[in-house]
Subunit: 638 residues, 2 copies
């Protein structure tokens, strides 16, 4: 067994960045990179490496500013409104279109509207013209030698036009920063290959290289290096020999792997930082070897992506001569208490929506291994060091991943998450740009509570009430007494028992659950309510069920737990069982509704959603899903 290093340093973020900056300055690597010359047609989104001056004036001769006739102004002085002057065509007056050069001897243009053609060879004019009237003078746009673009300027389409217009065919732009990315970790396989058991897909190199390319750099990814300090050292030496601007060593997710990086960097150069007080992203490594910065990037994908944003991208921009990127930052109100380690800069992925005029932030899953939390995030909240977190309802500074206008169009659906809400979101996206759906899974009752608190526009629920033998209505009365709420049916769904393929225990119904390990849903979930009701129907108590206390948050999670032998049975949707190739015993059909406070009902977004619910194609595709019926989809219940 390798020696295992448990503890990392806790260098504050600002100090870690300052150490990196000092090391870069010492190595003479802190400033913008040198320029290279590229043709204008390839210069879009590159950064100028020098100020650019006009090489010739534009226009570079006097030209007509109007369609009409070019003349010598002196020859027109006798023209009067009452005494037309005759001009011989092509001798005294020459037809010109806008942009044409003035013919020799001409210094003014008469607009075509102010001329009468007497015959084929003769024009009549009724007023004298001043010299240079309706003439675009040489240099009107740019005069030779004048500065047209500054240094360190990101080239846009119009900039390329202006450079071409004043005599440039190519332009000196900052060389693209070159980054070599070395993925390490014996457990990793390239994402192009299917991983075996115990193997993890290596995709952090894909994220980091895309981040670098998007920022204007070049990234080259080496093969994956196993957990072996010698091989890693060789790989680093190999990378250094290519004289890159930066090397990233991507660790596998294990702490062991970080140690290899730290050890190899120490062997080759100097280790400046080993562990930064940020969450996620703690085990960041910063070192220098052969005057080249080496950053060790942690293995969990959320940590890796944030390390890219916090450490790598600012470097790329500095080398390109650009100021640090400044994402739009807004103030939002958090719908949950967020606990935060006091010593860390904490970055929390949040879903955002504007409800009742306030932008509300709902924290997403915190695990650094959950890349979907970053994919689904609308923004990143920063809870600075020395803050222990924030209470529900407190203000939060959030930098946006989507334009504010998109956030404003967001319909926040909390509550029970039906997988077919994604189908609805697809149809809505294809049919309308009025709204985008963001859905956060908090269970049926959680959704109604969120509506009461004004944290969501809609709530998905499937809550069975044994007393009235009906769905949802009595719960609205209980949880949303003071709020007029509309209830619209989303679908009828088949609930039942999810069983391992082949049903090895021969379970036939609820009564058989005494002899199985059960996988339960969380308190407040509609399926949990239903299960408790069914237990009662069969004279069973929670204590009779092994695993009753083990909770999963979604139908698919229950199915996954059954598929992997964590339990022998769970309750959930037919679709979830079939998705993982499991057996299913149908127990009943239930109604899944969307609850919508009436004050949101007439908004453009909710109207677009309701139209999509009633879209014939959508209903057909929904009804064709295994375990779904859509006959009542879109109907108003109350």
């Amino acid at each position: 067994m390798t020696k295992r290093n448990i503890y990392l340093e806790d260098v504050p973020l600002a100090e870690a960045r300052a150490k990196l900056q000092r090391a870069l300055i010492a190595a003479g690597r802190a400033g913008p990179l040198a320029g290279e010359r590229v043709p204008l047609a390839q210069a879009l989104a590159r950064v100028t490496a020098e100020p650019l001056r006009a090489r010739r004036s534009s226009p570079h001769f006097h030209c007509a500013a109007m369609d009409g006739y070019a003349v010598d102004a002196a020859a027109t002085v006798s023209a009067r409104e009452t005494l037309a002057l005759a001009l011989r065509l092509d001798e005294d007056a020459f037809p010109v279109n806008t942009g044409d050069p003035l013919p020799e001897g001409c210094n003014a243009v008469i607009m075509i509207e102010n001329v009468n053609q007497a015959d084929e060879r003769t024009l009549l004019i009724y007023a004298a013209v001043a010299p240079w009237q309706h003439v675009r003078l040489m240099g009107e746009d740019m005069v030779a030698t004048e500065t047209v673009l500054q240094v360190n300027h990101l080239l846009r389409p119009v900039d390329l036009g202006a450079l071409a217009g004043c005599g440039h065919q190519n332009v000196a732009v900052r060389r693209r920063p070159r980054v070599v990315i070395i993925p390490t970790g014996s457990e990793l396989v390239p994402f192009e290959r299917a991983p075996g058991r115990g193997q993890l897909t290596e995709y952090n190199s894909l994220i980091l290289s895309a981040q670098i390319r998007e920022a204007g750099g070049d990234a080259r990814v080496t093969e994956i290096i196993g957990d072996d300090v010698t091989r890693l050292r060789v790989a680093l030496q190999d990378a250094l020999s290519q004289k890159p601007d930066l090397i990233l060593a991507l660790s596998g997710s294990s702490a062991g792997a970080h140690d290899y990086t730290a050890a190899a960097v120490t062997d080759l150069g100097e280790l400046h930082v080993h562990g930064v007080a940020v969450r996620p992203g703690h085990p960041v490594i910063i070192g220098m070897a052969a005057d080249t910065p080496i950053i060790g990037v942690p293995g969990y994908p959320v940590s890796a992506a944030l390390t890219g944003e916090l450490f790598v991208l600012p470097l790329i921009r500095a080398w390109l001569g650009l100021p640090p990127s400044e994402p739009t930052t807004i103030e939002a109100v958090t719908t949950r208490k967020i606990a935060s380690p006091i010593g860390d800069d904490d970055f929390v992925r949040v879903a955002l929506a504007e409800i009742d005029g306030r932008i509300q932030a709902t924290p997403l899953q915190r695990g650094a291994g959950v890349i979907t939390s970053l994919v689904r995030a609308d923004g990143l909240a920063h809870i600075p060091r020395f803050h222990e977190g924030v209470d529900r309802g407190a203000a939060l500074s959030v930098s946006l991943y989507h334009p504010l206008s998109a956030i404003r169009r967001t319909l926040m659906i909390m509550g029970s998450h039906d997988p077919m809400l994604d189908l609805l979101a697809t149809y809505l996206r294809l049919r309308s740009t009025a709204a985008r759906i963001v859905s956060v899974n908090v269970g049926s009752i959680g959704g109604l509570v969120a509506l009461r608190r004004g944290e969501a526009h809609l709530a998905g629920c499937h809550l069975f009430d044994p007393e009235s033998a009906s769905y949802n209505i009595s719960y609205l009365e209980r949880y949303l007494r003071d709020e007029p709420v509309a209830l619209v049916t989303f679908a009828q769904r088949e609930q039942g028992l999810i069983l391992p393929a082949g049903n090895p225990l021969g379970i036939a119904g609820i009564a058989d659950l005494r002899r199985a390990r059960y996988v339960n849903r969380q308190r407040g979930a509609g399926t949990r309510v239903l299960f408790d009701y069914l237990l009662g129907q069969h004279d069973l108590a929670p204590d009779d069920i092994v695993g009753y206390e083990r909770e999963e948050a979604t139908h698919l999670a229950v199915a996954a737990a059954v598929a992997d032998g964590i339990g022998d049975c769970g309750m959930g949707l037919r679709g979830a069982a079939e998705a993982l190739g499991l057996d299913f015993i149908g127990l009943m059909w239930e109604r899944f509704d969307l609850a919508i406070p009436r004050r949101h009902l007439d908004t453009e977004g909710v109207q677009a959603l309701l139209e999509t619910l009633n879209d014939a194609d959508f209903k057909r595709e929904l009804g064709a899903q295994s375990g779904y019926r859509s006959d009542e989809t879109g109907q108003r219940v109350v």
Copy 2:
């Protein structure tokens, strides 16, 4: 002479767009394009053509969530704080790093911190562990079949990672819209070639193709087609045979050229719009041929670029399945009255800066031929149809070309524009990100008035006062009596007479100007003040000077007018004369100062500017310019 069509239609912008949309729908070309499959490594910034579901769960097996030892939870039940339980290494307990799969028979992980190693083969633990403790369960991030990304989603770096993580190696993305661009106009030459007299550089194709590429489309530019309806028709047929999504016919700047496009489109298909009520950009053409949209783009570069933004880019985005782009829009206060044609949607390029807490917009040159007005613009103000313009101080809706944070860092310098202010801007840009300089030329006195009105942070001035025989100070007293102002020297500059190369009229000084055509500067310019003073010294009156009433706004414009024979002589800087290879007779050295209201003096931006003024390298390079001395540069006058 060809038949000349003078008048165009005046279709309102919204109606023109609606006509285009109806034509696209009729041709079945309005919706997003089909998908094509690309490897993930090439999918950055492409748009998904279908919703993407997890092909396998991630992680796809249970794995350690901590570094430690994997165990069977059932085997640990007897462990107590007071009664250590011994576990045999590699038999009861297996070392695992974060991310490692659980070995066969294990269902929990004990953190490394909670273990004591008794000897090489034995571990001691002091507490039982629950099943699945510190285990990352299969599907924690994504469960097979769950929707990971929606259709019509612009792929970001983290999205690529998530897709790779759930089993995708490639992804169906919207095909790039294909655009063929046909530049037309007999007067045009490709920008790669130097234009002769009467030839104009064709660079609109560079702007349009860059706009299209930036938005995610593909653009191919054909050779330039002369003004010949037959050749243009052939070129269009050629383009149509390539089955593009869109054809752009770029007109030369002449109205004649537009007619050729309209005629050729009518020959091949249907002309829907010929002239749109927008400024700039009026002569836009919209047609359809062989179910393919053809847009005729006006020839003036500002019109061409705006036609790209208003008509072409929304099409590209719609074909990619993206909503129309939404630039950040702010409210600004205009520092000038803007007159606007009542029937047009008017788009005005503005420079922006935040002064005294308000964002102020200063309109730039309006001419559609002045591409630098678009290059220098910080934003685009929209004055809608049915508005006659706005008064000074009125609110203006401006969509931003730069981030608001950059606008907030802007130092607005109005007044006299010295070309070396661009050198200062270069040094400032290389030395600091605290400020960016935007400079608007309104003449020395105009600058002082702008300071009084709070429209600028600094003013450049070189105003000679004969009474005190000094520069600027007495003018501050006159124009900024109530405002405490600091005056900092920018440079000493050599003013004199700018003469044609070889000085054909043999002019030796002011006295000789009786026999020359003079090119004057505008009222309020420091050089005009100086010239008037010198005239008086030589007992000359304005009436004695031919051309006194002909005004140019900059030193370089005066030099250009002399170079091109518009006048025989002008007054200005030595540098301007030398830039265009003209003769120069020095008359005197003058002081050019920057006036800075003291309330701006301590801001970060002004401090950065003052530091740069005193930078030794900057002063050396400034002093090395012909006609400049920098000994007093950066010194405080008052």
